[in-house]
Amino acid sequence: MRYLNNSEKKRIVRYRKHLFYLGLLLLALLEIFIPRDPYFWFDGLPVFYSVFGLLGCILTIIICKTLGRYWLMKSEDYYEE
């Protein structure tokens, strides 16, 4: 990486990104086609865990940050007054 110029670096980053998306697609497909033995009605749905991972992550961040901004986060000397 160190000896490459900028355009080459960008190309490698883009290549990696595409590889990552391809992997995600493959995982989602795998989750549809492999035989499953679900515990409940919902966790046997196709692509349940993929969607859960993505939505869970995004919602966690948004909800917690909102909670933090309006209630929980205080300045560092909050207890020293």
Partner: protein, 625 residues
Amino acid sequence: MIEHIFPVHPAAIFILGALVIPLLKGRLKQIYLVTLPVVAFVNLLYLPHSVFWVHHIGGFELIFGRVDSMSLPFGYIFIIMAFLGALYAIHLKGSGEHVAAFILVGASLGAVFAGDYISLYLFLAMMTFSSAPLIFYRRRKSATGAGFRYIMFHLFGGSLLLAGIVLHYTFTGHTHFGPLESGGLYFYLVMIGFLVKAAVPPFHAWLSDAYPEGTATGSVFLSAFTTKVGVYVLIRAFAGADILIWLGAIMAVYGVVYAVIENDGRRLLAYHIISQVGYMVAGVGMGTQMAINGAIAHAFCHILYKALLFMGPGAVLYVTGKEKLTELGGLYKTMPITLILFMVGGLSISAVPLFNGFVSKSMIVAAAGLQGEAAVYILLVLASVGTFLHTCLKLPYYTFFARDAGIEAQEPPRNMLMSMGITAFLCLFIGIYPAILYNILPYPVDFVPYTIEKVVEKIALLSFTFLGFWLLKDKIAGQPTISLDTDWFYRKAGTAFMWFCRNPALAFAGWVDMTFARLAGGFLWFCRNPASALATGVDSMFAFVVRIFVGRQRHSPLRALKSVVGWMDRLSLAAEEAAKRRAQREKMAALAQGEVDVRGIDSALFLVALMLALFLLYLAVKYLW
């Protein structure tokens, strides 16, 4: 040959062994520190499943060694952890931290092998006092405060536990430490005492308050013992208590919520201890063989990967002196080995296949699934999304990558890297060869972690979490804030209490003081010359009586003027007196507000210990002879 070896109590090895540390120096001390855990481990291997060291003191049966398949896994991992922690801290010149850490290990082992409530209580108290120095040795104001709050909160939990034990003894007539039947008040008192140890919300704030304030090496020890002893005692007494399922599941998500908004790297990890212990508590609540197995296996793995995770930021703190995410960044260039070893811990806690978290955490989640607890199942899976998001993505991203903070750094000392390396190896080894862990669990394991289905589901879950992180990674950057938690109640109450002491209470004390001083002054005046004092008294009495009987010419104008002047005089005198008193009171208040001499506490503690020793001696003399 083997039959002739009589094993020693593992706790005794560490507690007595710790007392030798200050006598040693240099290389010898270093060798001693890593040899002692090895000796203890070999000793533990020779302990057969049985009940040892039963003493009858004061009509109570104290059982110090209940060795069975429930306590042994905890014994193994505690001693392994003692070795790893000692190796990580071996470069420290002073003895204090080593002694405290080894006594902590010894007390934890004592608690794990205790077979009755009294010895359990004693070892739990010993754990509190031996772990606090690991926080005090940070030697800064915030650490001292956090350390005192830590002790106070554990004393609070401890006194509830003691009350529960006493009630239990009153009702059942024994102190045997086993499953408690639900119902009575003692059931809840003992449970709260244990919940404090396991850091279950709302009794958890001591953990996120104190652990990040510990020294770089001390926090590694702290992270391993207290909460896991909490889980162990919950398993012993409350396996199958329904309320624990919900507390555990909520706890798992609770820790994640706070980790999102946390800026201090080690505090983020502390919140993830709460989250991970939530899995174990939920497992205890389910109470099935698989769930209990899962809880113990997860405690075993958790100690390893959490130690590794605390070692990473600990090394960064040791090298750079910084721990806030907003002050760090770009360290991957100078600390690549630390980064890689830290990532092993991160992948383990996230339960990535081939790492140890996967083989233990999936057991608890599967147990929830098999029991049909849908909501608990969802909460636990959600918590694992959050865990991956923070420990494995946010923390390393903002410590080692993100912007280059231009900090000069190098790899930490070799012993730190070695300790991290061994821990990382153990994490991977158990992940790849789980049978070695499953074989020491109390119940037979018929759970196969590595099926195509489970592996694909897990990788899909975590990869899509990564996608979510990548989309929102600028949103979760650390911000220089602290978070409100349930410690708000007692921290604010503490401030209010101090205000009350400094203002109304001190003023009242001053008033009482002045009154008695004047009374005493009056007595002094009387005692100097009782005869003339009596005469004065008689004189004034006489004057009073005469005035009553003889009367005065009230209506002459001169008389009236005189009396007004007299009153004015008296008023100004009273005002002067009041001002004098006020000055004196202020002086006393100023005296009380200065630095309190903390050494007083030492002597108080010494006196208490002396009295305890005398009392024990009295008991021994009375009941043994």
